[in-house]
């Protein structure tokens, strides 16, 4: 291939144009060959072989690190679920207690109105002592009123409320179940 000024690198306007000698130099040097030293081929492939295991090792290390990282990520993903499960497990005992309530306290319907009045009195007394909240008193319900425990949710950490399923609420109900039991005892005293 013969080089001309057309396929030579561009020059600034202030530069002298390429000479024939320079074009010839470019052509000659680009086409030049030189015998490589005899030992170079061996050195190249020896170095290539030496570098390959290293790269394989590093790729193995990379894969191992990736596996560990993904394991940590999976564990981190399931960790909150396990937490909820623990909470749910602890709350599962409470619904059992909550279920016991209707069983142990089937009040006769005839006594309900009388008990309601008595409840109010007892509730006033308890409220005066600060045991019952206003919600519990105005709830209009008897001992087995389901709205009562829901009011007790006030003041609980929002993290638990945001937890998700309804199962999480059970412990909150059971946590305040004790005052209802106290109220029943007061009713019995009035009967005597």
């Amino acid at each position: 291939m013969t080089f001309t000024s057309n396929n030579m690198p561009p020059l600034d306007a202030t530069d002298a144009p390429w000479t024939d000698a320079e074009m010839h130099i470019r052509e000659t040097l680009l086409a030049s060959e030189a015998d490589a030293p005899k030992g170079l081929e061996f050195q190249v492939f020896e170095a290539l072989d030496a570098s390959t295991p290293a790269s394989q090792t590093s790729s193995l290390l990379r894969r191992g690190a990736l596996l560990v990282a993904s394991g940590v990520a999976v564990a981190a993903f399931f960790w909150p679920t396990e937490d909820v499960a623990v909470n749910a497990g602890s709350t599962k005992e409470v619904p059992v207690l909550a279920v016991e309530e209707p069983v142990t306290t089937p009040e006769p319907s005839a006594e309900a109105s009388a008990l309601h009045v008595l409840d109010e009195e007892a509730a006033d007394a308890l409220q005066a002592k600060g045991v019952l909240t206003e919600g519990e008193v105005d709830g209009g319900g008897g001992v087995s009123t389901p709205m009562e425990p829901l009011d007790n949710l006030e003041g609980l950490p929002t993290t638990e409320l945001e937890g998700g399923n309804d199962g999480e609420r059970f412990p909150l109900k059971s946590g305040k179940a004790a005052p209802a039991t106290e109220r029943r005892e007061a009713t019995l005293e009035v009967k005597q």
């Binding site: 320079e22 074009m23 030049s32 060959e33 030189a34 190249v44 492939f45 290539l48």
Partner: protein, 193 residues
């Protein structure tokens, strides 16, 4: 690209040693010659060539077939040579800044285009290494001043001025060689590489 080279490259990508050896033998003299252009010593040229070949084999998957394989290999070799050049720059600095003044010779004689390879190599070797590097990168290997500036870590104007000065010195050396060659009968009767 011819089919034989394509097949060879495919086998090299599969890390077939016989294909790698064949590829090496096909382009070894080109790679070594390119490395020699950018250095003063054969040992350093061997190091550059060795590094370049390892890069070629490792990055063969990145080579696009529509490009010239020889050009791709040359760019890898030039880049490797420049890395060596920059690494050794401190040791060569004093040599580079020693300006070789062009003697008032018949510069018209330098414009002839029938220098032998040996003469060209002699003239190029006579250039300070900084000038020679820029002249090689711009004139021979076709890099732009912007690319040269990035490769060498210098300003674009430095690249331009080095090219300008390098060209003047090169022409002066060629002219001197021409004048010395005049009395001889036929100095290029036996051109050598």
């Amino acid at each position: 690209m011819d089919q034989e080279l394509k097949d060879l490259l495919e086998r090299c990508k599969a890390e077939e040693r016989s294909a790698q050896t064949a590829l090496y033998r096909r382009f070894a003299s080109k790679v070594y010659a390119t490395a020699l252009r950018y250095t003063d010593s054969r040992d350093e040229a061997s190091d550059i060539a060795q590094e370049s070949w390892i890069k070629v084999f490792r990055h063969l998957g990145k080579f696009k077939e529509f490009n010239s394989f020889e050009g791709w290999v040359r760019r890898i070799t030039v880049n490797t040579a420049i890395t060596h050049y920059r690494r050794n720059l401190k040791h060569r600095y004093h040599k580079d800044v020693t300006e070789t003044l062009a003697t008032p010779l018949d510069l018209a004689a330098s414009k002839k285009a029938d220098f032998t390879m040996s003469e060209i190599q002699t003239a190029m070797a006579a250039l300070p290494r900084g000038y020679r590097t820029v002249v090689q990168l711009y004139l021979v290997d076709g890099y732009s001043h912007k690319e040269i500036a990035e490769m060498l870590g210098v300003d674009v104007n430095t690249s331009k001025s080095q090219l300008s000065r390098g060209r003047k010195q090169l022409q002066a050396f060629l002219a001197a060689m021409s004048q010395r060659a005049k009395p001889q009968a036929d100095p290029r009767s036996n051109p050598t590489n």
